[in-house]
């Protein structure tokens, strides 16, 4: 093997607002935000699949932007505001999550936290998204159970519900 071994050496302090609370951690400099959440902060709701930004399973909102947490270093979140699936679910199941269940969108479930994060971001940025816009916006989140139709239905129903409530 010719690969040079990874030798974790330096550690960095990180302070951020995580789901509304101030959090501090000291992590290896190379640690991704995904691994920091799961391994250092014990928040395993953000799931890990490809770990290279291709599947969307680890989607979180960093300063309001939807990001793959596997492509962001934990250190980069320093000073930021981070929302994860645990934050979304803090007060129980949301209208959107309820629509996921009612539409039959949840099968094995591993991609679902990431789908919920992407869908929540979409509802906030484009509350009147068309079916095609929903498909486009969600296309970075893979689901091997292929609940795609169900998820689109869930997002449409949640959007309709929010328009009625508004």
């Amino acid at each position: 093997m010719t690969d040079s071994p990874v030798r974790p050496t330096s550690e960095v302090p990180v302070a951020l607002e995580l789901n509304g609370e101030h959090v501090r951690a000291t992590i290896p400099a190379h640690r991704t935000l995904l691994d920091m959440l799961r391994d250092d902060l014990g928040l395993c709701g953000t799931k890990r699949c490809c770990a290279e930004g291709e599947c969307g399973a680890c989607s979180v909102l960093l300063d309001g932007e939807l990001v793959n947490s596997c492509l962001v270093l934990g250190a980069e979140a320093d000073g930021g505001a981070l929302l994860t699936i645990e934050g979304v679910s803090m007060d129980g199941v949301t209208d959107l999550q309820e629509e996921f269940l009612a539409a039959g969108a949840v099968q094995c479930g591993v991609c679902i936290p990431g789908q919920v994060m992407a869908a929540e971001q979409l509802l906030q940025t484009n509350p009147n998204a068309s079916r095609n816009e929903i498909r486009d916006a969600m296309s970075g989140n893979l689901c091997r159970c292929a609940s795609y139709q169900r998820i689109v239905e869930a997002i449409q129903n949640a959007a309709a519900g929010r328009r009625t409530d508004a």
């Binding site: 490809c50 291709e54 269940l101 099968q107 991609c111 936290p113 609940s147 795609y148």
Partner: protein, 771 residues
């Protein structure tokens, strides 16, 4: 305890005053899944766990000359560095049909990704760093990576003959072969008006579960071991660990967290015996979490080449069908021989054919061992047979729906003849007609588009054993113990529904226990869409057992003659009228309280001599219709409509049926349009990873998609249900292929039908007949 129960049970009736069977009940465990609280294997915390990483070589076939572990041993945090020489000799091999897979690569590497060295370290980073530091000296050998290379007379043997002692085929790369035939070869010539002969390819594809998976092994104080693995068959894993390391079953506990997607890829043990060894050797909890790339190197569907020759009368009736079917199974058997046997058994499709001859082989190559994958061999062979029917229809100027109408068997008509015939267990024409209706087959195809319609069939389980236990507790809540792994199909939701109806208990008061061999009775496996039928019948029987016991104790407690009492779903019927079963149970239990425990067993014995080991308990039948638009300049395909109809018997949970059918149908688009594992000349997989490999996304779903069911309550499971979950991908490829051929005028015979293949097909057709 009730008699063993197999066959129609409460057949055809939707039971119980609650009537939640048949309702769109939300998924058991759904809330945890939407909130992120669900704990899959890699989310579970183990105190003081050591971490495992593998070292491999970047080729598919090599002799291992020497291994230098010293650079790794010296690295921080390293606890152990283990290779074949460190295991008890000879290194144990395991497997279901063939004990051919070594616990770790022994003297040779037989596929790209086969673990050669395992490193145990304090952290995941340290384990991976040390695995990178291991130096494996190897000599690359000329591997066999394709069918022609594997079947050549002078081909290198993937497996040394000593691995399969006494096997007539052990000096070849053919692992197993079967032959199915019926009818008289002499009679066909006169009756055949048109004969079609062609070769079809089906790609190697990988399961790509969103949870790649992993294993944790915990040594226990009594010399035993606990193995955590998100497997579909916990009891098979328990048996394998016990056999490989000579530990009694009672001291091997398998805990199977819900698999985050299985699709057949998480059935059989692979690295569990090795991780168990590491734990026993180091005395530490050992944890392996796989990367997605490692999951690609652990599971795939067998690729397939099918050569077919088919005869038709002028009216489009099939006269004969011959096939040579070669499955590319990979380096070790896993369950691939069974995939080959079962898939080719139904290779001629659900048709009325006077003469059939199918020769099938499972061929070893230096590639990832293939295993079960949704459809289990049927999609591969069906791709060729359905394409042959369409080619026949084109040659005869016949509509492809009409072609199927003329050949599809009627209810109870034999479609497999010979010594062990199989008959249609459903009214399959209803599914075909419904699919045609839903896609608007009778309406003209819009300009620039093409349509295809196709059918598929798969035998369900041919033997089976599921045992269940149900407890009705004093307060009217209930628990069911059922060993089915809930990997996304939603099995536990159905057990809840059955309990709710049969015991008259609120859905919210029911808990299902699964995934722990120390707590849950035996279940053979979660595969072949069997669970709703087999475990469903076992759960139903356990509920009936409870009602019997309530009746008996109620009679004793109230001094009523048993003959004056009877029970019905959710009820005990007394001389003064029906009361709820829970009320009756409380009266019967009295001041001492306690509970009722019921047991149920569903067992299907095989049939001696049957090529599948027994008759299928049911068949999954599906009709799929697809409409596409093809860009003739780029070859790109736009799916405009996608319809599937399944013959399901009874929908116990319509919401879950739709989820599973849509999921299977879209998964079928993967091998039809985009998915294929690609290898270089060294046997290295070229497209490891999500983007390079490419599975269907939101944007690949048809503009209009609809799944539907035919319910005739004619299945062997509870309330007349059959298994579902695989049907909707059995014939996706056939329908896509027919639609593309309809649109561009020429068929594509190799899957996946990529834009490049379509473009080349159009170009080649134009070259053949220049305007």
């Amino acid at each position: 305890m009730p008699d063993e129960n197999q066959g129609p049970s409460s057949n055809g009736q939707i039971a119980g005053p609650n009537r939640v069977v048949g309702q769109r009940v939300h998924r058991y465990g759904g809330v945890d899944r939407v909130t992120g609280a669900q704990r899959y294997l890699s989310d579970i915390t183990f105190t003081d766990a050591a971490h495992v990483a593998f070292a491999t070589v970047p080729v598919g076939c090599a002799a291992i000359d020497a291994i230098d572990t010293s650079p790794a041993v010296a690295m921080p945090g390293v606890i152990a560095v283990v290779h074949a020489d460190d295991l008890p000799q000879p290194v144990a091999r395991f497997g279901i049909s063939h004990k051919d897979r070594p616990v770790i690569a022994t003297k040779a590497v037989n596929y790209h990704g086969e673990p050669v060295v395992a490193v145990v370290a304090e952290t995941e980073d340290e384990a991976r760093a040390a695995a990178n530091a291991v130096v494996i000296h190897y000599t690359e050998l000329t591997g066999v990576y394709g069918l022609d290379a594997a079947l050549a007379g002078d081909a290198r043997l993937v497996q040394d003959p000593s691995v399969r002692p006494g096997d007539d085929l052990n000096s070849t790369n053919v692992l197993e072969q079967v032959e199915y035939a019926w009818g008289d070869a002499d009679s066909e010539g006169a009756s055949s008006h048109t004969i079609i002969e062609d070769t079809y390819m089906f790609p190697m594809v990988t399961h790509f579960p969103i949870e790649p998976g992993g294993i944790v092994a915990v040594p226990t104080d009594d010399g035993g071991i606990e193995v955590y693995s998100p497997v579909q068959h916990p009891y098979l894993l328990q048996r394998t660990i016990a056999e490989v390391w000579s530990i009694p079953l009672s001291r091997v506990r398998v805990i199977a967290p819900d698999p985050g997607g299985g699709f057949g890829g998480k059935q059989t043990p692979r690295y569990e015996p090795l991780i168990a060894f590491l734990a026993l050797k180091t005395g530490r909890t050992c944890r392996l979490v796989l990367s997605l790339e490692e999951a690609f190197q652990m599971m795939r569907r067998s690729g397939c080449r099918i050569h077919a020759r088919t005869g038709f009368t002028e009216a489009g009736e099939l006269t004969f069908h011959e096939m040579q079917v070669d499955f590319v199974v990979g380096a070790y058997a896993d369950v691939a021989p069974r995939v080959m046997t079962k898939g080719s058994y139904v290779g001629a499709g659900p048709y009325r054919i006077p003469r059939v001859s199918i020769n099938a082989r499972a061929v070893l190559t230096n590639t990832v061992p293939s295993c079960a994958f949704r459809g289990f061999g049927a999609p591969q062979v069906g791709w060729a047979t359905e394409s042959q029917l369409d080619a026949g229809a084109r040659a005869l100027g016949l509509d492809s729906l009409e072609m199927r109408r003329r050949n599809l068997v009627q209810h109870d008509e034999a479609f497999i003849r010979g010594d062990y015939e199989a008959r249609a267990d459903g009214r399959w024409h209803e599914s075909l007609e419904k699919a045609a209706e839903l896609i608007g087959w009778h309406e003209p195809t819009p300009s620039g588009r093409g349509r295809g319609i196709s059918v598929g069939i798969k035998p369900g389980a041919t033997t089976g054993l599921s045992q269940s236990m149900v407890r009705l507790l004093y307060d009217g809540s209930a628990m069911a113990y059922a060993g089915t792994s809930d990997m996304g199909q939603g099995a536990r939701t159905l057990w809840k529904q059955i309990l709710a109806d049969e015991l008259g208990v609120d859905l919210d008061l029911i808990t299902i226990i699964s995934g722990d061999t120390n707590a849950v009775p035996f279940d053979l496996q979660t595969s072949a869409s069997r669970s709703t039928v087999f475990m469903g019948n076992a759960v139903l029987a356990a509920c009936e057992d409870i009602r019997d016991r309530v009746l008996e104790l109620y009679a004793e407690a109230t001094e009523t003659a048993q003959s004056e009492l009877s029970h019905a779903p959710g009820q005990l019927v007394t001389p003064s009228g029906a009361i709820s079963l829970v009320e009756a149970a409380q009266t019967a239990l009295g001041g001492l309280r306690g509970e009722f425990v019921g047991q149920g067993t569903s067992r299907l014995w095989g049939t001696k001599g049957h090529p599948l080991g027994g008759d299928a308990s049911f068949y999954e039948f599906n009709a799929t219709a697809i409409e596409v638009e093809v860009d003739r300049v780029t070859g790109e395909i736009l799916l405009t409509k996608h319809v599937t109809v399944g013959d399901v018997g009874t929908e116990i949970n319509p919401l879950q049926v739709v989820s599973q059918d849509e999921g299977a149908a879209i998964m079928g688009l993967g091998h039809s349009l985009m998915e294929q594992m690609l290898f270089d000349e060294h046997g290295q997989i070229l497209n490891l990873g999500a983007i390079d490999y490419r599975i269907p996304t939101f944007n690949d779903v048809a503009l209009e998609m609809q799944t539907a069911s035919v319910e005739n309550h004619d299945g062997p499971g509870p309330y007349g249900c059959k298994g579902i979950s695989e049907g909707a991908l059995l014939c996706t490829a056939g329908a896509v292929g027919a639609a593309v051929a309809d649109a561009i005028g020429t068929p594509v015979r190799d899957l996946p039908i990529t834009a490049e293949r379509v473009w080349r097909t159009i170009r080649d057709a134009n070259c053949d007949s220049p305007d």
